[in-house]
Symmetry: C2
Amino acid sequence: MSSASRGDLTTRARIRDGAVECFAREGFSVSVRTIAEHAGVSPGLVIHHFGSKARLREECDTHVRGVITEVKTQTVEEASGAFMLQQMAEIEQYGPVLGYVLRSLQSGGVLAADFFELMVEDVERFMAVGVEAGTVASSRDPAARARYLTSSALGSLMLHTTLHHTGAEPDFGQVMQEWIEAYMLPALESYTEPVLLDRTLLDTYVAHAGGGAGDEGGTGTGDD
Amino acid sequence: MSSASRGDLTTRARIRDGAVECFAREGFSVSVRTIAEHAGVSPGLVIHHFGSKARLREECDTHVRGVITEVKTQTVEEASGAFMLQQMAEIEQYGPVLGYVLRSLQSGGVLAADFFELMVEDVERFMAVGVEAGTVASSRDPAARARYLTSSALGSLMLHTTLHHTGAEPDFGQVMQEWIEAYMLPALESYTEPVLLDRTLLDTYVAHAGGGAGDEGGTGTGDD
DNA sequence: CAATACATTAAACGCATGTTCAGGCTGCTG
DNA sequence: CAGCAGCCTGAACATGCGTTTAATGTATTG
């Protein structure tokens, strides 16, 4: 336990952090040898410390999850747009973590689902605040809307990454910037000015699906 | 050439079709041995016919691309909503192809980019028709909007697939149905009734970024 | 019927992978 | 100093991969 208390500069931690970087850069099929070389150790030592590649992956998952919740807590405590922007400016600092999350989102797995749910909760809370402030419209199903918005944004970001950075070393700062440049305007436009001028589609679907099968996620339908 | 003229029931074609299924079900890391077993032949024969796994993959790409353009041509010729719905009902028929495309979208590659551009073109044309008919609002940048809408929908579908069907054998009919059930209502709602009641964000962004890059679409913002 | 070309297979090759093993090195403890 | 325990390495092992090779069967053709 002495090594753990001494901080994070143990060889174990160095391997772990290096592994996060490698996983982010080259995907989860990166070899143990590459990870070992990146940390300046032998492949055997990686296994000696973590038991197996799968367990190393798990440890990376929990570590990344920890970083995320830490940042999230900070953000919630500050809860200011300025801090949020500052975070986005420092996004390069979290490059490996962001890359790791994106790789997880591509590959599936527990961390990906957890992260998605975390984002959904954030978005739902954020939207609720906007609704109360009068800047955001209320929804028939706030939870579903939050899931939809999260899924669209995250999925779009994923797609952009895979399509335009097929190389093994994507720069996530650049990816993010490209993505914002390409989609920010149409997104804001679509969310501010209705895309569909004809209400028929929505009304039809609401009459059809809303009457027959209500969803069980019972936060109730939002009213004005 | 006699074998090619006899139709598609050659061993080569059987292997190819089986490979598309395998790639769709298990991803592109599926082994040649699995593909061979699926087609009821030896691994060596697969290589003998296609030269290498990479070339087999290419052939699958072009084949899938062919199926897509064929279906697309039919759809354009018919161009009726009824036919479109019929196609969606028969979507299970195209399960392997759809799965293959989704895998491509996850892994990147030429087919993925091609398919995305194809979809963007379709969406842009479709939206233009709607704008002329008065059912769809005009956009400051129709091309960017088409890209955004396509990216959101496709990305969301991808994300849903990877998150909820982490198993090796996803049923794409079911995936599609789940996706529609989860996201159709909030999507229609968001596109029909503006999400953001405050125009500040949009106006700010337009003033900031729109000053540099002008819009060429410009039939006006088309609101009341 | 003999010859030729093709379809097909079983076995093996070379390689990269994750993992194991036996031992060497270092630092602490008696 | 002797000994022990941990960190660490280099080499080896087992496995699965894509691919090659030699040989077998099977038609078609002269």
